[in-house]
Amino acid sequence: MAPTPPARDVAIVAFAQSDHRRRTDELSEVELLMPVLHQVLDATGLKTSDIGFTCSGSSDYLAGRAFSFTMALDGVGAWPPISESHVEMDGAWALYEAWVKILTGEADTALVYGYGKSSPGEVRDVLTRQLDPYYVAPLWPDSVALAALQAQSLIDAGDTDEAALAAVAARSRDSATANPHAQVRGSRPQGDYLVRPLRTGDCPPVGDGAAAVILAAGDRARDLCARPAWIRGMDHRIEAHSLGVRDLTDSPSARMAAERAGAFERPVDTAELHAPFSAQEVVLRKALRLGDDVTVNPSGGVLAANPVMAAGLIRLGEAAARIHRGESDRALAHATSGPCLQQNLVAVLEGES
């Protein structure tokens, strides 16, 4: 089925992110988030009262507290009352909700943010709580273990090997040297096996961080940004939760989301992929049909900084920022959620020449 073009032109007009760090004990979540919100608002000259819709993504399980996002709302300035929503997911899905809100004509601008502090808990254990609670979660398979099963499937299928995975990790962290926000930059040893076949270097750093973008429709976007990153299409898809019924070497949901977002209509020059583990880039490159001529993760990607619940939104933001700077004309941005790329979101962003 051919994708339906969006009913309105909507663009990412500003992007900001924190410096991602291993720990931010001195900052509460709102203290972590607020500078990023101010930065993205300042970039457009908008005030909170000018924003039509606000949407955020975060997780109570990371914070260890119920309704933690309500505290973060203090950083937005919710008086006089604002139109606001929250997803218990990565901020990329908050961006999707905001995009839909603008497409309906209910708003012309939106502020989207995502944030997460992984440092207070053990993120490998925390993420087990998103698994099937009957058959899987009682075994406590941590996020690295599940990614390692996927990596071994790829190795068994001949799609990659440990040397190729190390090259993905090295390229990502080399690229991150140009990214002042990244947590892990430059060359570092691949390290020991965390869960074989994945070594430390194949896994994302654990850290804290936040990100925010502003969306705007039509001429409003042109007013706010010299070169808006127009969202030509966006879609997200999910696969069965049971790992044993899926082909872990493929990502049909990413492919379908890309198709529905219009990614295959013309080549892209840049791809920001949300691949927390090196082997997942192998899966995504194949599913998204990315050739060697596409610049993949020039930011360093998630292997260089992985603030959970913001990392996917950052992919959209980084892709948009390259368009803002004139470094890309057509970029693919991808976000994922769940074990072994269970859910995938793809957006196609374009700059006008």
């Binding site: 509460s28 709102v30 919100l37 203090d74 058959y135 979660a137 009682p138 398979p141 994945l198």
Partner: protein
Amino acid sequence: MTSSAAPEVLRAPLVVEFPFTRSLGPVQSAFLTGLRERTVLGVRTGDGRVLVPPVEYDPVTAEEIRELVEVAPTGTVTTWAWNPTPRRDQPLGRPFAWVLVRLDGADTALLHVLDAPGPEAVRTGMRVRIRWAGERTGAITDIACFEPGEAEEDHQPGPHSGRFEDLVTGIVAPARLDYTYSPGRAQSAYISGLSARKTVGERCPSCQKVYVPPRGACPTCGLATQERVEVGPAGTVTTYCIVNIKAKNLDIEVPYVYAHIALDGAGLALHGRIGGIPYDQVRMGLRVEPVWSEGGRYPDHYRPTGEPDADYDTYKELI
């Protein structure tokens, strides 16, 4: 009072623990009861595939599926990952392999663990069998783990009614996550202040409101609050309620009064219990002060100061 020295960031262990109690549908109930009886069941989809572990709806067509099939306790590893450092609550306390196992008679794979001496003893395609837990309750952990090898007795896969004596209809899945909680800069300053029996708020640079307890942001202006301001100790009751139900583990006689109290200098009211006065004599405007118990980390309650009541106009904005 304005203080610039940042207090030490506070940290404390925070444990989130909950015994999730979940009911089971007919297929999950049969599967988990089967494990208790050392019988592994799958479910057949409309196109004839057998899913193990079984689900109630076809993951492709979403069609309801109920046809149970018994599969063998032996199978083939479809992929694996060696875990050198087991984490708390994982099935084995020594290094093991995570495995996806396609049991004989099944078309899909089950996630579990394999007890093996080392990674060199594991490979995709190897034959494994279930090692049953000694005590079984009707849970996925009734499979203690897999081990290399074939079945000890002959198992014939085939149709199964799903009927067992004493069906398991629910599971209790305990979950515990450990955190080290840090409240951040603003709340650390507030808590540190309390240890000296001072109540410290923060002033918004824009609207000048003083927030107590401070959270580092003015929710009205969306700005960071930095300037620390000591408020109180006395304050005014802005509104209150009378509590008539005794809370479990709370050693306070009912009825008692719970009130919003605007400490002098604060831009909003915090809440606390009122003592030292009969409950039916508490009123809006009553002037109160904190009472600290020995070693208390925050005021135990507030009692009347004996001053005349505050004029309504002085606190009406804070109700």
